[in-house]
Amino acid sequence: MAKKKENINFEESLRELEEIVRQLERGEYSLDESIKAFQRGMTLSRDLSKVLDDMEKKISILIESESGILKEENFIETGDE
C-alpha cells in the first residue's frame, strides 16, 4: 500500500524547513525560540533525508489473477541502452 501520509509530509516538511530557515535568517526569533526552531529544523532535515534514502528501487509488472487480485512480478528490463 502506498504510504500516503508520508507522501504528503515530504512536501509539507520541506516547506516547513524552508520557512524555519527563512525566519531564523531574518532574526525574527528570540533566543529561546531560535533554539526551538533550530531543533525542529534539524529533525525535519534528518527525516527528509531519511525518506529519500529509504525508498527502495523496484520495477515490477502487475499480473491480474483469475480472481481479480493483482500480483507483482519483477520486470525484466530488456535492451537497456
Binding site: A2, K3, N7, F10, E11, L17, V21, L24, K57, I61
Partner: protein, 411 residues
C-alpha cells in the same frame, strides 16, 4: 384503341391485390444486382433514433430524397452519431416495405462523406464530455510531489516503457515503478486501459498513474479517444498523467487527465523530482539552519557584551557618587550661606541693639538727664504747664529718685 378503364382480356385474368403488387416489386428488386448492394451518397434529414434502437431518416440530394432505415444491429457499429445535415455515404440495399408500399434504402454501413468518421466522433465526444464538465480544471487533482510508487499503464514491450524507466532511474534511482501492461491499439485496447485504471484504483498500490503510448495515426491512438477510457480517468481517485502520441497529438484522455505530458519521457520527468536536487536542497537548508543559529547566538552575545561594557554596567554606583558629591557641595554651600546669613542678621541685630541702647531712657539718664513725674497726676512732666507751684514731683535720676516740691516756675 382502348378506352381508359376498359380492360383487355389479358389483364382481366391478372388482377392483382395490392399486397401482391408490392411483393412482386420487392422480389424484382431483390434480384437486381445493383439494388442489392448499393452505395449512395446524400445528406441526412428527418433523422429519428427510435426507442427500439433503429434509425429512420431521409437521404436527399438537391433534387429528390429516399427514405432510409438503419437497424440497430448495423448502427451499433457506428462510431459517430448521425445528425441532420450530415453528408454521408451509405452501403446497403434497396427494398420494399411491403405494408406501406414504400421502397427504402436499408443501410448496413454508414460513413462520413468528406470529413472522416473518426474526426466527427472525436468532436462529438469531446463536446459531450466537455459539456458534462469532465475537462473542468476544478476536477484536476494535484500530482503528488514525491510519489512513493508510480503506476504505468502502457504496453509492456516497446520503447515507451523503456524510456520511462530510464528517465525515472536517472532522476531518482530508487523509484518504485509498477507496470500494468495493456494493449494500446485495436478493438480491445480501450477496455483494457479502462480496466487497468480501475484496477489500480481498487488496489491503491500506486500514488500516481502514467498513461502512455507512443506516436501513431488517429486510428492507432483511437482507444484513448473512447468514452470508456475517459470515464475511467475521470473517476480515478489516483491522479492520472496522460502521455499519448507526439507533442501535437491531443486525445480525449489528455483533456480528462489531471495532467497532460507532451511525451512519455516528459511524463517521467514531471512525475519525479530529481533526487540529487532534493538532497542538495536539504543539505543547503541544513547548512543555513546551523549558520543562522550560530549567527543568532553571536548577535545576542555581542549585545550582552555591549551592555556589560557600558559605563552604567561597570560603574553602577557612579551615578550615585556623582549625585552624592553634588549633594555634599550643596549642603556645604547651604551651611555657608546659612552661616553668613546668620552673621549678617546678627550684626544687624547688634546694630539695632546699639541703636536701641542709645535711645534707651536709662542711657539718657546716665548722661545726666532725669525723668520728672507728677505725684499728683502720675504722668510724666514734659512741660512747665503740666505742673503748678506747690505740686509734688518725683525726679528719677540714674541712680535713684528725688521727691521735691515746686517752688516757682518760669518759662
Amino acid at each position: 384503341m382502348k378506352y381508359m378503364g376498359e380492360l383487355s382480356n389479358n389483364s382481366f385474368s391478372n388482377i392483382l391485390t395490392v399486397s401482391q403488387v408490392n411483393r412482386y416489386i420487392k422480389e424484382k428488386m431483390s434480384k437486381d444486382l445493383i439494388l442489392t448492394n448499393i452505395w449512395v451518397r446524400g445528406e441526412i434529414s428527418n433523422f429519428k433514433n427510435h426507442s427500439s434502437g433503429h434509425m429512420y431518416f431521409t437521404l436527399k440530394d438537391e433534387n429528390s430524397l429516399i427514405k432510409c432505415v438503419m437497424f440497430r444491429t448495423y448502427n451499433s457499429y457506428l462510431r459517430f452519431n448521425p445528425e441532420n445535415g450530415m453528408k454521408v455515404i451509405i452501403r446497403g440495399y434497396i427494398s420494399v416495405f411491403e405494408r406501406d408500399g414504400q421502397y427504402q434504402l436499408y443501410a448496413e454501413e454508414m460513413q462520413s462523406d468528406g470529413i472522416g468518421n473518426l474526426h466527427i466522433a472525436f468532436e462529438q465526444l469531446k463536446k459531450k464530455l466537455a459539456d458534462e464538465g469532465l475537462f473542468d480544471l476544478a476536477y484536476k487533482k494535484k500530482i503528488p510531489y514525491l510519489p512513493r510508487s508510480i503506476g504505468v499503464v502502457t504496453s509492456s514491450t516497446g520503447s515507451v516503457i523503456r524510456d520511462i524507466i530510464n528517465i525515472l532511474n536517472r532522476r531518482f534511482y530508487n523509484s518504485v515503478i509498477k507496470i500494468f501492461p495493456v494493449k494500446v491499439q485495436g478493438e480491445s485496447a480501450s477496455g483494457e486501459i479502462s480496466h487497468a485504471i480501475e484496477k489500480l484504483n481498487e488496489s491503491g498500490c500506486v500514488d500516481v498513474i502514467i498513461l502512455a503510448r507512443g506516436g501513431g495515426s488517429l486510428e492507432e491512438l483511437w482507444p484513448f479517444n473512447e468514452e470508456i477510457v475517459a470515464r475511467s480517468i475521470f473517476k480515478s481517485k489516483i491522479p492520472v498523467i496522460s502521455a499519448i502520441g507526439h507533442e501535437t497529438d491531443y486525445t480525449i484522455a489528455d483533456f480528462v487527465a489531471d495532467l497532460r505530458a507532451p511525451t512519455p519521457s516528459a511524463a517521467a520527468e514531471l512525475v519525479m523530482p530529481e533526487k540529487l536536487a532534493l538532497k542538495s536542497r536539504i543539505n543547503e537548508l541544513t547548512l543555513r539552519l546551523v549558520n543562522s543559529l550560530l549567527s543568532n547566538i553571536r548577535q545576542k552575545r555581542d549585545r550582552l557584551y555591549k551592555v556589560m561594557d557600558s559605563a552604567a554596567f561597570r560603574q553602577p554606583y557612579d551615578k550615585i557618587y556623582q549625585e552624592r558629591m553634588k549633594l555634599d557641595i550643596l549642603s556645604k554651600d547651604l551651611r555657608k550661606s546659612m552661616l553668613s546669613r546668620y552673621d549678617r542678621e546678627r550684626s544687624k541685630l547688634c546694630l539695632l541693639i546699639g541703636k536701641l541702647d542709645a535711645l534707651s531712657p536709662l542711657n539718657i539718664l546716665s548722661r545726666g538727664y532725669c525723668i520728672i513725674k507728677s505725684e499728683n497726676t502720675g504722668n510724666i512732666v514734659k512741660s512747665v504747664n503740666d505742673v503748678d507751684v506747690g505740686n509734688n514731683l518725683e525726679i528719677q535720676l540714674k541712680d535713684g529718685r528725688l521727691y521735691c516740691v515746686v517752688n516757682d516756675k518760669s518759662s
